[in-house]
Amino acid sequence: MFRYLIRRLLWAVVLFVAVTMVTYMIFFVIPANPARLACGQRATEECVRNAEARLGLDRPIPVQYAKFLQRLVIDRSLGQSFTNRQDINKTILDAAPVTASLVIGGAILWMLVALPIGILSALRPRSLLDRAATVFVLFGISLPVVWIGLVLQYVVGYRLAWTPNAGYCDFIDPAEFATCGGPVDWAYHLILPWITFALLFCAIYVRMIRANVMDTLGEDYVRTARAKGAPEPQVMRSHVLRNALLPVVTMLGMDIGIALGGAIFTEAIFGLPGLGRLAVQSLNTFDLPMIQGTVVFATLCIIVFNIVVDVAYAFIDPRIRLD
């Protein structure tokens, strides 16, 4: 286990360097100058020169990249934004809970819906429930997230006014003069984003759980367990679900890891100040440090969740040995 973890961590470092290096290279291929943008519409050459020096853009690209790595590893700092000079660590840490609220809440919702529907569909194939689930899956996979979000936001949030149409409230410690805050406001404002975010995943997971459970139900060891007279709950718990849900755990870990990097569409539609919206804004303003910050955070999330999933595998399935 220890050797495995070391090996995975070393790979993680290689992956991390590769991702950040590629981001740097892409940024510098684009011929826009953030220093020029920082100086406003009446930018003078002197202002741009000074801004380049302040932003570190006057150095060769490899030196800039080395400085970025040095700052990240030694100072644990992602630097400052090119456009508003805010501390990127703080900006990312402010945005991350918003995205985490959306993703984790959404994941709970989609699992709460997908698990029972997927299992029931598998247990009653071609029943009315199964056919209804198939239609749901078809819709869930076919409808773009943007469309679902906009429709929910307009119909439920605006026309019917059952929920807020947009906005975010802090779970704890709302900002001074904030118009809302606390767990109730937090959940109330996230209802539509959770549904929007969860619908696609819900459909995918229903289909996957149904297929896995059906496959497992046909396995020899399930038939053997039943033949030996094992009670049905035990067959389901110990033989069917334990095996059928193994790939679901992998998928769940991967999907949460990726989504934590920023659920761009959902955040944009509902005005959630999370990492996805931050990434889009940074791209629009050529704010390299902020783009790097979101990329670093997303990469770390994916790496960590991958490792967590791999380790969790060993505990769920005793046949798997990490070494």
Binding site: P31, A32, N33, P34, R36, L37, C39, G40, Q41, R42, A43, T44, E45, C47, N50, A51, Q80, N84, R85, D87, T91, D94, A95, L109, L112, V113, L115, P116, I117, I119, L120, L123, Q153, Y154, Y158, W162, T163, N165, A166, G167, A175, E176, F177, A178, T179, C180, V184, D185, A187, Y188, I191, I195, E232, P233, M236, A268, G271, P273, N284, F286
Partner: protein, 551 residues
Amino acid sequence: MDRKIWLSVAAAAIGASLLVAAATAAPTKIQAKKGHAAKGGTFVVEMDSDVDYTDPALDYLSTGWELMYAAACKLYNFPDKEAPAGSHLEPEVAVGLPVISNRGKTYTIKLKSTYKFSDGSKVSASNFVAAMNRLANPKLQSPATPFMDVIAGAQAVVDGKATKISGVNAINATTLQIKLTKPAPDLISRLTMPFFQAIPKSLSGNHDPNGVLTYSSCGPYYFAARTPNKSITLKKNKFYTGGRSANVDTIQVNIGNSLEVALQNVESGASDYAATGVPSTAYATLAAKYGVNKGRLFVKPQLGVQYLAMNHDRPLFKNNPQLKKAVNWAIDRRALLNQSGFLDGTRNDQILPPGLPGAKNVAIYPLEVNARTIAKAKLLAAGHTQDGKAVLWTANRAASLLQAQIYQFNLKQIGLDVSVQAFSRGVQIEKEGTRGAEFDFTTEGWIADYADAYDFINILLSGNTIHESNNNNVAYFNSPKYNKQMTAASNLVGSARQAAYQALDVDITTNDPAWAARSNFNDRIFVSARTRGFTYNPVFSFDYATVFVNK
């Protein structure tokens, strides 16, 4: 097996009940109350993206300056009035106009002693000195430094050779003296920019390059709180004794909602004003529903111009006034304007926007194309199109791309085969601002920094401002004759200055057009039903200090 099914059904029911619980736990819906407009209340504003800074030395975006207009007190300011009166500056903290001596190089300004910051401290000449010293401080790298180029000793501070500007001094608490390196008749116009507002003692020593989020200011309001990317709160300055309005108690800016949500919120009354606009496709519907300038939707002209710049460094336009005139005759200004949405601007063919001191509307080129104007354009262009090929640069925004196609069609009619290259806006600015860039046309726009023709004609057209990179004169227009006239105009004051710039505007546009100006910007303002009144200042746009809402 049945037990399993029921377990699954129960799990689904729990999931559904959680949703219902969250929905029923909703707080009471905000509803606009009917009543009489009175002082007080909160004015809720929607912005789709944050301002860059709320530090007076760093903020340089129009949305930020709108807020700064409510918070700042300056030596001179534009009054809380609509155009044209709103673009004629007046003394604010200053008592009357400055006494100018030393052949236009020394300004002595008397100050009122009644102004106070929101922390209760008095505003004196030293607060303005502190503001300018802070602007020039190299640690801050303020975008204000180009506007201080004529102030004696400012460059030494910018270069790190001094800590205080030698040319700016507080003679006493109510007398400020500014010494210049050369006469600058537009100095007091420059001083109207929010950069030059008085700053409190607590801010004067703060040279944090990240700027501050809140500070005590001496205008009708002050920045009470800011959470970047989330919200900004302005509160009324209870110590304010100046003559400006301060009607609502709080201005609450919510940041991050999309334009669609901003439209819904203002329509329903959850918010009062969509500061960064609503979807451009919605304006026609809103106009049909509420009328224009009748209570909810307002259209106000801005001091800005949109134009098609012609690159004079390229052989196509070098010493080729005939073709430049032909382009001005050929373009379909109405069709171009239609692409950016209902009431987005007003067609125009001149450099200076209406409402700017010195601007005068003269019919030079057609605002409407027809067979006659196309014939005239063809006649002018005949024999002047070189190889008949040209490159047009534009931004990769939807409206810009549509406009590029119209330019393509219009210019084809005069014998120019135009290929369009689209870039993201940041890339376009960078590329076109670099001398030697390979474009013949580029689409551009400019909004006034302050209400003076210098900010348009000298900044955008003087050959003396052309550098190797970072050019605003993207037409690379460099006429020794006009350069001389521009410099002469910039040294004039009062009506002589306005007349000189007016003549330059008409002369250049008629005889040697550097651009084809196509329109002036409009600000389309959508407010809630409970918003009972506001003033629109032509320089700083929406005037928050004058807003009234139903309580």
